[in-house]
């Protein structure tokens, strides 16, 4: 770590990704999970300490992954990483590098992991390789789903971009793809897909209807009692009294999911 971090710094690297290839367990039977967390946190403190010492200004990133090669990786998904970082006071020092396929293997959509990370201030960089939808291991395919990329860019643009982070393909051509040209035929549409996703997200945001609908759904909490509840001004007893006094009886409103799929599909 020391040597590679120094090398990254000398080369002007702006990101240092801790890929969790061995940071998990093969079996709980030989594992003290709390102790391993403590030790992993210590290691991470050493990384940060050394980065600061040598003047590295880039991002330190953890790449969430649920399993493989171990049965259970400690960096299972963004929410797990965030809990770990907070426990050891590291959440301001480390961000996440999110991979499409790792999200899928953890039981999440790619946009879920981005939305979660962004809401927690943890969205630092992206590995764009997707997973086969029927394979239970990490397949590292090139991107070919522009809609998935558009939703990803939506969250990235809404937070003002990735800063020092970026979009990386560490995708691979398939075992059957033996020709040098296959590498080009993988990368070119991968880039085209990414570009098409970016353009879709820009169009979605510029159109504005989607954000307006989304904001509208939460508008009731922006003033009046809703605002007071969120500000901690009302106790359960206050709220109950108010409900009884004013005869408050909120009616369910449609989530309008099908309607919302339209602007998204239109711009991709």
């Amino acid at each position: 770590m020391k040597a590679v971090l120094e090398l990254t710094n000398e080369l002007g690297g702006e990101n240092y990704v801790l890929w969790g290839g061995r940071e998990g367990y093969e079996t709980l039977l030989n594992t003290k999970i709390g102790r391993e967390q403590d030790q992993m946190a210590r290691f991470l403190h050493l990384v940060i300490e050394h980065a600061e010492k040598i003047g590295f200004k880039g991002q330190i990133l953890i790449e969430p992954k649920p399993q493989e090669p171990s049965k259970h990786q400690y960096d299972f998904d963004v929410a797990t990483v965030f809990g770990f970082l907070q426990k050891y006071g590291l959440e301001k020092k480390v961000k996440c590098n999110i991979e499409v396929g790792h999200a899928f293997l953890a039981g999440h959509s790619f946009e879920h992991e981005l939305a979660v990370a962004s809401s927690l201030g943890q969205l630092g960089s992206v590995d764009a390789n997707r997973n086969d939808l029927q394979s239970g291991w990490d397949t590292d395919h090139f991107p070919n789903n522009a809609g998935e990329m558009a939703l990803a860019f939506y969250y990235i643009l809404k937070q003002g971009g990735l800063g020092k982070g970026g979009f990386n393909f560490d995708a691979k051509v398939r075992r059957q793809s033996l020709d040098p040209a296959d590498l080009l035929h993988g990368h070119i549409p991968g880039l085209d897909t990414t570009a098409r996703g970016l353009k879709g997200a820009v169009a979605l945001i510029e159109d504005g209807e989607y954000d307006k609908l989304l904001d509208g759904r939460y508008a009731g909490w922006d003033n009046g009692s809703g605002k007071d509840i969120l500000a901690g001004k009302l106790s359960p007893a206050d709220i109950a009294a108010k409900v009884h006094a004013d005869g408050i009886n909120p009616q369910p409103k449609s989530g309008r999911r099908e309607y919302l799929e339209n602007p998204v599909n239109r711009f991709v």
Copy 2:
């Protein structure tokens, strides 16, 4: 069954789908699987016998589904249904009605089930509802993936259409979607997605490059020794002797997967 089949006939119905809602087991512990197969086959023979007796000219269809409500449905997927039909001499009398989401729950892509069914003469009709990619139960969403539909139509068009079968949505709006308008907002993009998929498949076939590449991959088996092997003219000993005599040493060729994704993505 008797009453509904007669009603279907009177109404001019062209398809009679046997949806396997209870045709499976909750636990193997109380199940004799061979006996249940025999009984299910007898029932199917009764259906066909009655259909013929009343002059029903439509298709009899089984809808493959891997699970839910039972733990294991006997009509798990197309390949399973085909094995069952053959065992009881029913494979010429019954076809499959394939649902996008059921394919996914069985561990297959939608196009896989269509390709398998078409190759076996079993592709009779389609339920277009897809599944959520992260939910482990049958979600019956409206279609919203034009690329998935395009690959489906490719197989349908290549076999000359669905005959008496068709495209059905038995999709549902979500639990949160409470307004009557939500029904429209589900159906309209579902139809648009389907139409976009159909147009993509037509364009892919009319362009012709994809089929040419695909045919090319198997061309070596259309003549010479390849043809003789498939025709059963050469024994293992003949083949081995020929390999040694002629110094045959086939070199692996690229599967060109990444290249093939291009025409498909271009037309969708």
Copy 3:
């Protein structure tokens, strides 16, 4: 194949397992699935032809597996293999070698695959290695679940054993298990687990209550109208007329699943 089959014969081998390591597709986009089935069937005919020519008296076995290394293996599970064998007239010549972990990866329990195979006359041999329950790839662990083994032996004993087939471990110690002794510590409990399962199945059958309960569930079909229906003596019209005339209104009966788990757990 020719050379290895001859060698197997010379060494007195009684089983020849066709492990489907490459018999599947990486992507449907470069695959004609019907054509590949035809070619695979031709190959299988060549295997059988050569086995007969050299006088090999052992079993020819296919090992079902859903995926890995390919995205989709053609021998997905027992039901799929059986459909394939029937289509090409091979179901009397080839049986299945069933692996615990492959069953799990295909979305089935181990006992499911044994029950299905046995009911179809396809249960020829067993690979006893299980899968990790949280990993999405083939892990080949040693057996350590005696209950799972007991249910397996139940089906094997009920069909009179595996004939020329047997129980094989092609299990592996884990990557972390570096010592020669680890090999022993994997094999010994694997064998103990298998033995404990066998003893449990014997006890379950000798006790007799379980089989009696299971037989009882289907007893209503062994005589009277039930028997006539299964024998094809009654048409749907006959059955409907009888239901109306006799006021037949069958009441649901408990499947008694929880009760049935008791004898099984007691003997394991």
Copy 4:
């Protein structure tokens, strides 16, 4: 919440479980995930505020569950809950109620969730119902796997018990199980399985070999340089210098997984 919490208090209840039946999203498209977390945290603060006000001395518990009825529940698993609680300063006020089947649906073993929760001080109570291993939805079966229970009790006993928490079955008999007696046949073996698991865990701990082996694996970090590293006394530069000076070259040691499975299996 206010009324039920007061009722719980009056009845002398010692646990108040927040079961997250609607605390998730159906689709990210209509969801601001950060905002919903803030609002959920506010609600939880109201619960705690009211509990303290009325003098409720019991535990407040969250029940992790990954999905169903929503596509994504915010209380996905223990690690996710812990991250959420920390963010809002609630980790000392709220613990987890862990369900066997929810752990499985989240991609974890039951013992994993217990081990994680215990290491974080979050293990408060248990729902003992397991899931079917092949079903993708919450099945709430009665416990029937004593080995799984033994590993659970190991973690519970090692932390000194569940305190005010307990073992709950909110398991259900299956849809086919119609008789009143089926309820008994579900509960009795469920309790027996639990008891057998407890006895196994006690025997495993009293025997002592397992804990000795487990402690031994980490012993190298309890003194010397290992201890200094964990105590933060050595910087990366110090460690690198020491490695070079002393020629430290640690050799991999076997994880002895297969050996460790023996004591566990022996006592269950």
